[in-house]
Symmetry: C2
Subunit: 377 residues, 2 copies
């Protein structure tokens, strides 16, 4: 995997780059739709490629480990083949779901034991087992196994946790050296900065993970309930330390405005369930603000869901009144159209951010757009 830094904005820390994987190139900044369990909910892979124009998608190690399980994954020849997605894939380490979904979890030096949320059977995720599973899945980018402390955390807890994440990272790096990809394509390890909302810990963590000299770096432990100002401050702090010649991935962020603000601070890669999850509840993002399509005001609004030529094709041909109707009668096509819309909206947003960086007017554009993005229509 290689990363070419193509342009740095003169007014902000925004960057335009090009990440090259064995499954294709990813222009950055980029948003990665979440394909939890071998599918981006409600979206065909062909639509993901041709309509959403996703360049890379996420898979969740925890979910895929449970179902279909690694026996099927192995027999399928990895996730790309299993789900028929030819583009790049990134997998998380599974840690976050262990902490947020699983039961009876216990963290030790070895790793995290837990009872899964499906049938309650017990498992251990460790740096080695998480990366072993990610080898089986065959993601192009694999994430280090870390602990993500809750917000807020006491500083002593955050510090102890950070050091554990660092020791686990060393084991991750070692495991990657000692093991080989299973399907012939390269898998790049991204370590994860932790340290909760404590600047000194974050600084220490950035320096530690940068020191392991992996192909990219991630910022974890944000978008977990902290004030937005903290998220932005820490994103900035981390980007100031993390090497500029490597891609920076801010995990689990965020709203359209969050993404533009963090691009402005030097982040290159994002993932979030917001656009797809909110779509399923009828929340539709536009450049003019956020639409709750279930609201009666859209009932006889026969304007296009979004007429922008960089929007989803379905949003150009279908009206707000039609989408309102589909949600009102609880039809599957409602979430399908809204999900296509929001994911394309996010992709169009990062595409334009990139072209604005390359064109030199990113800051002006971002500052004009952000207030609109947060309006409720």
């Amino acid at each position: 995997m290689t990363f070419e830094l193509q342009q740095t904005d003169k007014n902000t820390d925004a960057r335009a780059g090009l990440l090259t994987t064995d499954h294709g190139q990813i222009p950055t900044p980029i948003f990665m739709p979440v394909g939890t369990i071998g599918t981006v909910k409600g979206i065909h892979q062909k639509e993901l490629k041709e309509q959403v124009q996703a360049k890379i998608i996420l898979g969740n190690t925890y979910h895929l480990f449970l179902r279909p399980g690694m026996e099927t994954m192995d027999a399928a020849g990895g996730l790309h083949k299993f789900m028929n997605w030819g583009g790049p894939i990134l997998t998380d380490s599974g840690g976050y779901q262990v902490y947020s979904l699983a039961h009876r979890r216990k963290i030790t030096e070895e790793g995290a034991t837990f009872a899964n949320h499906i049938d309650g059977s017990k498992h251990l995720f460790s740096p080695e087992s998480s990366l072993g599973i990610q080898r089986d899945i065959g993601a192009d980018i694999v994430m280090a196994f870390d602990e993500c402390p809750p917000y807020p955390s006491e500083k002593t807890y955050a510090e102890t946790s950070m050091h554990l994440t660092h020791r686990w990272l060393e084991r991750c790096v070692q495991f990657m050296k000692d093991s080989a990809p299973k399907y012939g394509h390269t898998q790049a390890l991204f370590p994860i900065v932790q340290g909760s909302s404590f600047d000194d810990l974050r600084k220490q963590s950035c320096e530690f993970i940068a020191g392991t000299d992996q192909p990219g770096n991630a910022i974890g432990g944000l978008s977990v309930g902290e004030p937005i100002a903290d998220m932005y401050r820490i994103a900035q702090l981390c980007c100031d330390i993390l090497p500029r010649e490597k891609p920076r991935y801010l995990m689990g962020v965020g709203t359209p405005a969050n993404i533009l603000e963090c691009i402005s601070r030097g982040v290159d890669m994002f993932d979030c369930v917001l656009p797809s999850r909110n779509a399923r509840h009828g929340m539709v993002y536009t450049r003019d603000g956020i639409i709750n399509i279930k609201n009666a005001r859209w009932r006889n609004d026969f304007s296009a869901i979004d007429a922008r030529p960089d929007g989803a094709p379905t949003s150009q041909v279908h009206t707000k009144a039609y989408l309102h109707h589909l949600f009102r009668v609880n039809e599957l096509l409602g979430p399908q159209i809204a999900t296509l819309h929001n994911l394309r909206f996010y992709l169009a947003l990062v595409e334009e951010a990139r072209s604005r960086v390359l064109g030199g007017d990113f800051r002006r554009w971002k500052e004009a757009l952000v207030p609109n993005l947060e309006k409720r229509l």
Copy 2:
């Protein structure tokens, strides 16, 4: 609307024809996917056109009358525009849903009063109001308002009901004469044969409805629980009487085998919720038999869902193991892929039936295929 009878099979009563509406041509025999409430569940209109290759779809008057309602339908400029479907549409009369879904229904000479199943408010559907609604919806083919007697029915009830349907038909014909289409395209009325499972009533009904000389004729009151042998016998009896130069539509039928057997008896048009409803429950039709994709035997079956080149594109690129997984984890994409599959399967079946009629070997083909279609894999 015109109908050209292009070929009648020499060994059976199967026919190949061409129905021309203002929204396009429909080669017959044809299967019409059910788009209940302005959407074929889980299928984008673009997929319906390009992947399913549907030539005409159905809308349900009862459902559309309740939601979005005729004020919105009217403001939208009819169902074609509302749902962005440029092809032909057929609407039922709403009667069937009044009898099967609504509460406190009462049938009088005037029509049927009922409390709707959504909010319980009371309505009257009459020949005139049903066709008025179908004018508002703007379907290319509108159905006469009839009474569909339950199975089994006493002969006296079936006979009284049939005569009511015939008197209602005369009012339908009159209403169509006295009113005009709202959106500039022609709307053709199809009357409906009733008479339950009584051959003499069916004969009488066929003669009556044929006598009204409408552009096409429908056979109702089948697929309501009667033995399959009765369905086939009555379909044959009706086709023997209904004029050969007009299309014959058998309402609500049926399985792939039912469709081939009724094509063989002279039916040209079919609609049924089976392929789409069963798809949502994981039942997948193939030329080798019926797959229950939830069954564990498909877990590691990495063959295509259906490799046939006339099948759905998604069925060619996705494996049974992947579809099994999607159903197992209850992901939206499972029903989406299965519905595309089954609808395309039904369309490919009637397309091949047509080409076999044109090619002269329909009977041999049908007789070899039918036993396979009913197998459980």
